[in-house]
């Protein structure tokens, strides 16, 4: 039981990292990003390839963050110039380009066959309980660090500026401050966090393949962020929790409802995700954890 809960907690933490970083992008800075899974994928492959080639974990994690941030840089520049609806589509397209490149460049990524046997930190602790708990400690540390980082950023004058940009970019310009550099930097920081999430995911799953990085992951993360509340750190955790609750909870529910077939359960699970997203957008757009109301 403990190891199952540990596993769910680890996956929760990975989604929490994704939600937090998307929240930094959108919730705090107003950057519309529908390509988050692209950064996640880049991080996963960077870390996997590094450690499969015998490099230390530190190198893999650094590469994951750095490459994801690097990929965010041109996208951030584009974000400065585009209408937000176009940006939504361009970022979505970006994540698909990432997936196509990973699929096509087989010499590097092994293409659709995926990368098996990615080593996991703490494997020396023996297989099972302790190693799992140690890994959980690692992902929890990552989440805590991400929270501290984002909280520090948001509460700093830099954070005040990004929130001003979110609220009204034109007004920021009129005050003689250039939003461009700030937005690109935030884009890169959030991407780096998503990249770290990807690295943690790759090492945990031991196996990655391009099909794991579909746009649906991005939509899941958006749902988690909207549910918790854009611009709320605690909201990101709550949102990711609800998401994992839905995805995993359906297993438990099905054990109790023998008459519901697995296929139907899968449909119901997905339907619930979609329905929640619609209902929150309609009736609770500020999410569960945001009390500040816009007039």
């Amino acid at each position: 039981m403990l190891a199952y809960i540990t596993a769910v907690a680890i996956v929760f933490c990975i989604y929490a990292l994704l939600t937090l970083s998307l929240n930094l992008h959108f919730g705090f800075t107003g950057l519309i990003n529908f390509g988050h899974v692209g950064f996640f994928a880049i991080g996963a492959y960077a870390a996997a390839l590094c450690s499969l080639n015998g490099m230390p974990y530190v190198v893999g994690f650094t590469a994951a963050a750095a490459l994801a941030a690097l990929a965010a840089w041109p996208l951030g520049l584009l974000a400065l110039r585009l209408r937000e609806d176009y940006l939504a589509i361009v970022t979505l397209a970006f994540s698909e380009i990432v997936r196509v490149v990973i699929t096509a460049e087989e010499w590097l990524t092994n293409g659709v066959q995926g990368l098996p046997g990615i080593p996991r930190p703490f494997a020396s602790l023996g297989i099972g309980g302790n190693a799992e708990l140690a890994y959980l400690a690692l992902v929890v540390t990552a989440v805590v660090l991400a929270i501290l980082l984002i909280r520090h950023l948001v509460r700093s004058p830099f954070g005040r500026l990004i929130q001003a940009i979110r609220d009204d970019e034109v007004a920021v310009k009129a005050l003689g401050k250039n939003p461009a550099g700030v937005k690109v930097r935030v884009f890169m920081i959030g991407a780096a966090i998503a990249g770290i999430a990807g690295a943690l995911y790759a090492h945990y799953m031991n196996y990655i393949v391009p099909d794991q990085f579909l746009p649906l992951v991005t939509f899941y993360v958006w749902m988690a962020m909207i549910l918790g509340g854009a611009g709320s750190i605690s909201g990101s955790l709550v949102g990711a929790g609800v998401l994992i609750g839905i995805l995993e909870g359906s297993r438990v529910v099905r054990d109790l409802l023998p008459n519901v077939m697995q296929v139907e359960m899968a449909s119901l699970r997905l339907a619930l995700v979609g329905l929640l997203l619609v209902l929150f957008v309609l009736y609770r757009p500020n999410g569960l954890m945001v009390k500040r109301d816009e007039s």
Partner: protein, 405 residues
């Protein structure tokens, strides 16, 4: 001591099942818990539900026969969603929460590769239908058994068929995923070993509104036959497009893609003579006859399109026989050691658990010949497959001949 289907479905609440168990069961040994981890949704969904139901009713048959070495089979069903992440969480739940002893019926190689470290660590027997070659080599404890063969082996078998049919201009067209690629890789290596070369090779991306340019490139090389490594939906589209482009090229492919449903969709004429190479479900074996009838009753559809379900049936039967042979109180290592003993040649041929149990009790050696084939495992725990060729004739698959590697 009858365990009806509903009770097996309910075993998720294990205590409930125990409470409802008959008295005779109470003195029996710890049940043998099985995780039915199948692709209910995602790319494997055409096979997952049937596979899962099969594991349930096969387990019921074992229980009907009094259990294996006194142990009743308890089944916990899960969905891999054909995705490694969901598969890993499901496997964790099965291993940790439901305390399963074995996991049956994983399908996509991604899921199998992702959960192997878990089953390996927990000494859980893993029986799979995945095709990736690396599964054999990554199995260190000899607890992983493959009931359908690798894609590469299937591909090599297909190249043998093509040669036997006397065709020389051969092209391949593969869905860009692991199984499609393995299949054509097998065809290619088999074909080249025979001293030929392929006239065209195309790998295509799925979920497109059409595949005409891909076909056009292949048809430009004027092949006599196209080896298609696709699933049924794409096969439907591609064969139709080829005909609409005016080509009468032949197609050959795995049985899950070249199916009678094609002629329902496209008309018998368009698909006349298409060749399906499939594992031999021992069509004439009594295990298959029994299983296919059960399957028809449970699922309301023909098992012909779901070879993996017949594998799943054999997983349960074979494991039960191995447990019986290992005797009471055996652990998984010992049970696994008995798998080859009860299924490989040498003993008296049996076609089901009840029959085998009697012979074992009589101290005889047995050789289970299952619904999916003769079921002989090699040193990697992979079955040595037998293949058969069928052709679509007037809308139905017509058996032609068997071939081995």
């Amino acid at each position: 001591m009858r365990f009806n289907r509903r009770e097996i479905m309910l075993t998720g609440a294990a205590s409930l099942a125990a409470a409802m168990a008959p008295v005779g069961f109470a003195r029996a040994a710890e049940p043998y818990r099985i995780g039915a981890l199948n692709p209910i949704t995602g790319a494997g969904s055409p096979y997952g539900s049937g596979t899962q139901k099969t594991i349930l009713f096969a387990a019921q048959e074992v229980n009907d026969a009094g259990g294996a070495a006194g142990r009743m089979f308890e089944v916990f069903a899960e969905d891999t969603q054909t995705a490694p992440e969901a598969g890993v969480l499901a496997a964790k739940k099965l291993i940790e929460v439901n305390k399963v002893d074995a996991i049956f019926g994983t399908w996509s190689s991604g899921v199998t590769l992702a959960i192997m470290p878990l089953t390996d660590a927990a000494n859980v027997i893993l029986m799979t239908n995945s095709g990736a070659a690396s599964i054999s080599t990554l199995d260190t404890k000899d607890l992983v058994y493959r009931y359908s063969t690798t894609g590469i082996r299937s591909g090599r078998a297909i190249s043998g068929v093509i040669e036997k049919e006397g065709l020389t201009r051969v092209a391949t067209m593969a869905f860009n995923n692991a199984s499609g690629r393995d299949l054509v890789a097998g065809v290619k290596s088999g074909w080249e070993e025979k001293g030929h070369s392929l006239v065209a090779e195309v790998v295509y991306e799925p979920n497109r509104p059409g595949y005409r340019s891909e076909l056009q490139q292949i048809l430009a090389a004027k092949p006599e036959i196209i080896m298609l490594g696709s699933y049924l939906p794409d096969t439907t589209i591609i064969v139709r497009e080829a005909r609409q482009m005016g080509s009468d090229v032949r197609f050959i492919g795995p049985g899950y893609a070249i199916a009678p449903k094609l002629s329902e969709s496209l008309g018998a004429e368009a698909v006349e003579g298409l060749m399906a190479v499939d594992y031999v479900s021992s069509l004439d074996s009594s295990a298959y006859a029994h299983f296919s009838k059960r399957y028809q009753d449970e699922m309301g559809s023909d098992v012909g399109e779901n070879f993996y379900a017949s594998c799943a049936y054999d997983m349960v039967q074979c494991t039960a026989l191995a447990i019986e042979a290992a005797g009471p109180g055996a652990d998984n290592t010992k049970i696994a050691a008995n798998l080859r003993k009860v299924s490989n040649p040498g003993g008296k041929v049996v076609s089901g658990f009840a029959e085998g149990k009697k012979l074992l009790a009589a101290g005889e050696e047995i050789n289970y010949e299952g619904a999916s084939g003769p079921l002989d495992f090699d040193e990697h725990g992979d079955v040595k497959p037998l293949f058969k060729l069928s052709k679509l004739r007037s809308g139905a698959l017509e058996y032609q001949y068997m071939l081995s590697l």
